[in-house]
Symmetry: C2
Subunit: 242 residues, 2 copies
DNA sequence: GGCCATCAGTTGTGATTCCAACTTTACTCA
DNA sequence: TGAGTAAAGTTGGAATCACAACTGATGGCC
């Protein structure tokens, strides 16, 4: 009873459950359209629709000729986690992700010093990462870290792990989000047409009450979208009946 | 030439252009499936797909039996704008949006005082708004405003307009986003099951360099989703060829 | 005038079929 | 053995037909 739900939702919910419960690990192949029709006894339309919904949720990712695979769990909101998908996703769809990482030393600008709660002009390690998809720059991240945390040998992109090794535990991430290109950030490398909207994320990683790293991330808006999922049509309402 | 694009994308782009250029104002009806098939000379599948894409973009909203209409422009990311859709959207899909607004005076808690850059225990106007959909509470917002800005007669939900009338111009909104339920916020009114993820937005409206209002917004994550739109399949890549 | 039933129109969902483009695998042949 | 080729499988796109549930408006009836 209570099973007047659309057919495709049955497929969606079953696959989603398997993914969220870990039965299907990231990278695992998803049954193809035809396999779904046989396995669930549904039509091709329903199978295709189910795959589309899951893909749009970000749980799976498809590739022509190759099939769908479980994506790294995007979960819900954290921008930093979504950003972590960059490399994985680009690979998954056959683009070549690259990134330039340039690290140098600098004196903390006043705004950066405030964010890191250190004295202005303190020495910081500045890391500038340009993310590229097939050579085209699509994302820019500039991170600042007090030199005291940087032993100079590690990959600065893995602050969390390194700090974890130092006995510090990252407890929180705060993010300030703007919808524009702020002045102090060099965004010319992204080669954006004038007037394009960008997401500017000021992100600070905290260990306890101590900021350990802060970064500016510039993301053109056509890569991100905050969708207001309504509990109704076209939505996927994460199993409302259970 | 250069028109090997999918057919449905032609429809999507044309309608989207009309919407973004203002030819189709918010509330205006969108051609129905059958009208699209005739108007654009495409099949029903393409028409349906186009409408689905636009709906998922948030540009239009459909209602069984009634048709699609242009939604208030959600643009891309701003949470506060997405939130502003609450009432409109609920109406559009036939739910009854209501909200309780309770206003009282209080002394600023230390954290609130910092956010408003006023002295702790200064008098503030506190507004607690519970958004409901068909009676079910789905969103909670608690705002704080220095009493100096509140003349006591206006609707506090329209801070921007009121301040605009006072000659102040809101220039910016900063948002801190957490993915948890913080302690100081009363979230029991939302009647959330334990462990449910929520979006906690600390939002501050600025007029110049002066904070004029700050608020905590609690949104269960099943209402919002940050989708990482890939420049590839199922995406709608906002006219990449132009 | 007011109320109710009917009816055309619309959306959401579904089945079925087909095709182009692509990937992967297996196979053939030099 | 190695390279090129063929075949099978997969996705994205598309056409066509169908049906249930719902909305809005029309018109008839009291």
């Amino acid at each position: 009873m209570a099973n007047s739900d659309p057919v495709y939702l049955r497929v969606v919910e079953d696959l989603r459950r398997q993914i969220t419960e870990g039965l299907l690990q990231p990278g695992a192949p998803i049954p193809s359209r035809h396999q779904i029709t046989r396995k669930y006894g549904v039509g091709e339309t329903a199978a295709r629709h189910a795959l589309r919904v899951l893909a749009q949720e970000g749980l799976i990712i498809g590739r022509v000729g190759s099939g769908h695979r479980v994506r790294q769990r995007p979960d819900l909101l954290p921008l930093h986690r979504a950003q972590a998908h960059f490399s994985t996703d680009m690979h998954a769809i056959g683009r070549r992700p690259t990134c330039d990482v340039k690290t140098d030393s600098a004196e903390a600008r006043p705004d950066i010093a405030i964010r890191l709660r250190i004295a202005a002009q303190s020495p910081v390690t500045r890391t500038r990462i340009v993310y590229r998809s097939d050579g085209k720059p699509v994302q820019l991240a500039v991170s600042y870290e007090p030199v005291v945390y940087n032993d100079g040998t590690d990959d600065i992109t893995q602050v969390a792990h390194r700090l974890g090794g130092n006995g510090l535990k990252l407890t929180e991430v705060t993010e300030h989000v703007y919808a524009r290109v702020p002045q102090p950030v060099e965004s010319d490398v992204l080669d954006l047409p004038a007037g394009v909207h960008v997401l500017h994320v000021e992100r600070t990683h905290w260990a306890g009450d101590k900021p350990v790293e802060t970064s500016d991330v510039i993301i053109p808006c056509d890569q991100f979208r905050l969708v207001y999922t309504l509990p109704a049509p076209y939505g996927d309402q994460t199993s409302p009946t259970r």
